[in-house]
């Protein structure tokens, strides 16, 4: 027994020493950058220099399983203290009680007025609280091959009807082997492709994910996409499975003449295609335009051990100069006005296409079902519709069913 007591005393002494040595706090931060060669280490070093006593452990989590990992880490009690987060995940994170409200901190923060207008409103939660601090943004637009349009004497399509004609004309057999080797549009049928579909469907008047999807206008939107593939053959045959890498690869390789994505891929595309590529807002379909607002924010998690330190770190990332540095790595646009004004990382035509698209930019509904819509319901049903297993109406009904829950 004596022995045990000695042990206990020694152990508690050790623990005490450890905690004394650990008076500094550590912020565990999760982020996702496609680019492995990113400036996070420099940002961390800069921050630690400015804030002695706070250590930042930044971890790059692969995008494909980012949210799976985040949710399971939260449930498992091993969540990071702060993390990069998107709006579609907000309802779930709020429902899990995983987020720390930071509205009061933002109000007291001197960087607040320097943020681009309206961003804080867009990222507000359904319960009226603020949990997110924007860190970058993009708007999706149409990439097109200027050289191919010029060659055929075509204009950039501004409506869905024009889009269809242009896409058909651009789908060509250039090597004479009897099958097309350039396709009009690179459609993303795999996960993440809902943005493409939404531009052709949710643009219709009175149609949104939560209502009107099964109306004639809603079904016409989906039917239009299915027809482009099945009747007109303007998507590559692999479209049902294609993800981001595939559509981008095909566009860069000249296999497709148009696609939809954001400024994040502009520099990579220009590197290969140079002046042959340009961009414009997505076409108007069914009486309106709809494009996706690609948001990215940071948040403090409610389980954070030192919330002040975590807040200091995330507000550091959305401050002038640092925010520009952050976005140089992601290739997206800074949320800080002064950084945006001096922005020179992207060719002007892509910044213009982004700004021109802003009036039509939308977020997906701020409800819990959106995660399932993005991850499974949309991809599975779009693929089934594209391969003819179900009709456009059945696809829209499945989505409506999800949102009716």
């Amino acid at each position: 027994m004596k022995m045990f007591r000695k042990f206990a005393v020694a152990a508690s002494a050790l623990t005490l020493m450890a905690s004394l040595a650990h008076a500094d706090s550590t912020v565990r931060f999760w982020y996702h950058f496609d680019n492995a060669d990113n400036p996070m280490d420099e940002l961390v070093a800069e921050f630690e220099k400015q804030n002695p006593g706070i250590k930042v452990e930044a971890e790059n989590i692969p995008w494909n399983s980012y949210y799976d990992n985040l949710y399971t880490a939260i449930i498992g009690g091993n969540a990071p203290d702060a993390a990069m987060v998107k709006m579609f995940a907000q309802p779930r994170l709020v429902e899990m009680g995983a987020l720390e409200p930071i509205g009061a901190r933002i109000d007291a923060w001197d960087g607040k007025d320097g943020l681009e207008d309206n961003l804080l409103n867009l990222t507000k939660a359904a319960d009226g609280e603020t949990y997110y601090l924007p860190v970058q943004y993009v708007v999706l637009y149409l990439y097109y091959r200027q050289d191919m349009l010029d060659e055929l004497g075509l204009k950039v399509p501004t409506t869905c009807d024009e889009f269809r004609d242009v896409a058909k004309a651009l789908t060509r057999d250039t090597n004479g082997d009897g099958s097309p080797d350039v396709y009009g549009f690179g459609f993303r049928g795999g996960k993440g492709g809902h943005d493409h579909w939404a531009s052709f469907t949710l643009s219709h008047e009175g149609v949104s994910l939560e209502e009107g999807l099964t109306s004639d206008a809603g079904i016409a939107g989906t039917q239009y996409v299915v027809d482009l593939f099945r009747q007109d053959g303007v998507f590559p045959p692999s479209a049902p499975n294609d993800g981001f890498q595939e559509i981008l690869g095909a566009f860069k390789a000249g296999k497709t003449a148009m696609t939809i994505h954001h400024i994040g891929s502009a520099n990579g595309i220009v590197e290969v295609l140079g002046d042959k590529v340009s961009a414009a807002p997505v076409p108007e379909c069914g009486g309106g335009r709809w494009t996706s607002f690609g948001d990215e924010s940071t948040a403090v998690l409610s389980s954070a051990s030192d919330k002040d330190a975590a807040w200091k770190w995330i507000s550091f990332l959305s401050s002038p100069v640092n925010n520009a540095r952050f976005n140089e790595a992601t290739g997206q646009l800074p949320v800080v006005k002064s950084d945006a004004e001096s922005w020179s990382l992207h060719p002007q035509r892509f910044v213009k296409a982004t700004v021109d698209s802003l009036p039509y930019a939308h977020l997906l509904p701020n409800v819990s079902q959106t995660s399932d819509f993005v991850n499974t319901v949309w991809p599975v049903n779009m693929q089934r519709a594209l391969t003819g297993e179900i009709t456009a109406q059945e696809m829209n009904e499945k989505i409506a069913e999800l949102y009716a829950q």
Partner: protein, 305 residues
Amino acid sequence: MTDTTVPDAGPTGRPLGRRVLPYAMLSPAVLVTLAIVFFPMVQTAWMSLHDYVLFRPNHFEFVGLDNFRKALADEVFWISLRHTAIWIGITIPAQVLLGLATALLLNQDFPWRPLARALIIIPWALPSVVIALMWVWIYDSNYGLMNDFLLRLGLIEQAVPWLARPDTALGAIILTLTWQGFPFFAVMILAGLQSIPRSYYEAAAIDGASTWRQFWHITLPGISGVLVTAILLRMIWVANSFDVIFVMTGGGPGYSTYTLPLYAFVKSRTNLDFGYGSALAVLFTLLLMVVVLVYLRRTGKAVSR
């Protein structure tokens, strides 16, 4: 701290220490197995009886067999089950036949035989994810080797998007898995072949038995024990493996390459519906158990005959 018991002789006459020793030495392994295999299994069974969605951590409601009822009425469950049956039913026989042929070839005398034996194991030694990515490129409709090859041979007129068509996607993945798994059979069967004494064949040859009869009456019975074990192991692995499918198509297009383990994974990990996902996993385990038991009974009889 006080248990310094005197070793006494038990009813069998052996000292207690000797009787306890096997348990003591086995217990670490048993404890680890209990902790990392048995406990999660029980937990899965327990979760399958609840309505448990991960992003509603405070909502853990007992619903009895509701999840199972829901599964049996779920169209995707039946699609996945059908695919799982096709998946096992084609992959295993194809791997066995290919493995058998390879083993018979490798059992012949020819120069560089050791090298050939080493090379044949490569597909088996590669990680599944690498194999999956490799085959995604082989099947690619723009740059893929498969399309190029078939086009040159004139077997197809235009490139086929093998993984993007519902009628070819599952077959394409089955081919990949067959390629990955046949070396396992080749190596196992080769070991079995080498344990058959040469004198059997010599005696049969003297009696005038044809090569086919020698194969049927000497080779096949000689390797049957190995074959039964190898098929059983492989059946369980193939049934459970979804990494190759996950990387190659993620289950798509639509549900065309969904198998039950993949469906259970997507339900729990992506949709975070752990209750329903667990129910699917439990159902699949039970079904697989039935298949394994039937297989063992039938082959057990055949082998011992």
